[in-house]
């Protein structure tokens, strides 16, 4: 009962802030709504028993990536709003239609699964020691992908520095 109330509240907040992110006029407002969205998603992770990821979500997304976005908004000092220039070949309605096609696809899959319910047996409950659990899997089974991810971050860091330099 408590879980259901928490889930529905968080789901409503996540979706509401998601809609606000893509509809807000000002980019800075968009970013602030994005922070709220990330924090409620982190709360949803706690509800699912993934405490470590909830902390990662807040630290990396709400702390790191959002600050990066704010810096870029500050650096690109817009003299005219980006929505002012309108390319006649680009139609917003068409984009919306494509989004609704994706929605219809998802609904079709959901209806199909309702007709043929596949049952997924619930596994054993996870141990409450979430950090230890994640760490054990990450550093034994997925050690090589972990190292590759560190290489990816290094390459991205160098790439970002090279791209953002004054003289390219």
């Amino acid at each position: 009962m408590g879980e259901a109330i928490a889930f529905y509240t968080l789901a409503a907040l996540i979706l509401a802030f998601g809609v606000l992110v893509i509809t807000a006029r000002s980019t800075v407002h968009s970013i602030l709504f994005l922070v709220a969205n990330f924090i409620f998603v982190a709360a949803l992770y706690v509800l699912l028993g993934a405490q470590f990821l909830a902390v990662i979500q807040v630290v990396v997304y709400a702390g790191g990536i959002v600050v990066l976005y704010l810096f870029v908004v500050m650096l690109v000092n817009l003299k005219r709003p980006p929505e002012a220039h309108h390319d006649r070949r680009r139609r917003t309605g068409l984009g919306l239609a494509f989004g609704l096609v994706v929605l219809a696809e998802f609904v079709a899959i959901a209806v199909y699964k309702l007709v043929q319910p596949g049952s997924m047996p619930p596994g054993p409950p996870m141990s409450p020691d979430n950090v230890q659990l994640v760490g054990r899997v990450l550093y034994t089974e997925y050690l090589v992908p972990f190292e590759v991810a560190s290489m990816l971050l290094l390459v991205a860091m160098i790439g970002a520095i090279v791209l953002a330099r004054r003289e390219l």
Binding site: M1, E3, A4, F7, A11, I14, L15, G18, V21, I22, T27, S30, L34, N37, L44, Y45, L48, G49, A50, F52, L53, Q57, Y61, I65, L68, Y69, F71, V72, V73, L75, V76, L78, K79, P82, E83, A84, H85, D87, G95, L96, G99, L103, F106, M120, G123, P124, P125, M126, V134, R136, V137, E141, Y142, A149, L152, A156, M157, G159, L163, L168
Partner: protein, 102 residues
């Protein structure tokens, strides 16, 4: 009230994904488009973690960590590209990003 199953999380995740897709399709400000991509990646993470909790092992959470890592790399490089583009054309409107159009 029915108990919360992975199907509930999948529906939430699909809804968030579609919000992100509509954002990518309809907005012209490239910074907002990048934020929509972050929404899409978040939707994927919700799915992974819901199934991780259902199946009862931590592999889904490990993959969510990798997704967050890729999202961070994507944001850093993408925002670098936005800055480089802005220095050349003084705009962040994707309709004007046609330097490489044939």
């Amino acid at each position: 009230m029915t108990p919360i199953t992975p199907a509930h999380y999948m529906i939430l995740s699909a809804a968030l994904f579609i919000i992100g897709v509509i954002g990518v399709m309809t907005r012209r400000n490239i910074i907002v488009i990048f934020m929509s991509i972050e929404l899409i990646l978040n939707a994927v993470n919700i799915n992974l973690i819901a199934f991780s909790a259902q199946v009862g092992n931590a592999v889904g959470q490990v993959f969510a960590i990798f997704v967050i890592c890729v999202a961070a790399a994507e944001a850093a490089v993408g925002l670098g590209i936005i800055l480089a583009f802005y220095r050349n054309k003084e705009t962040v409107n994707i309709d004007e990003m046609n330097l490489m159009r044939w």
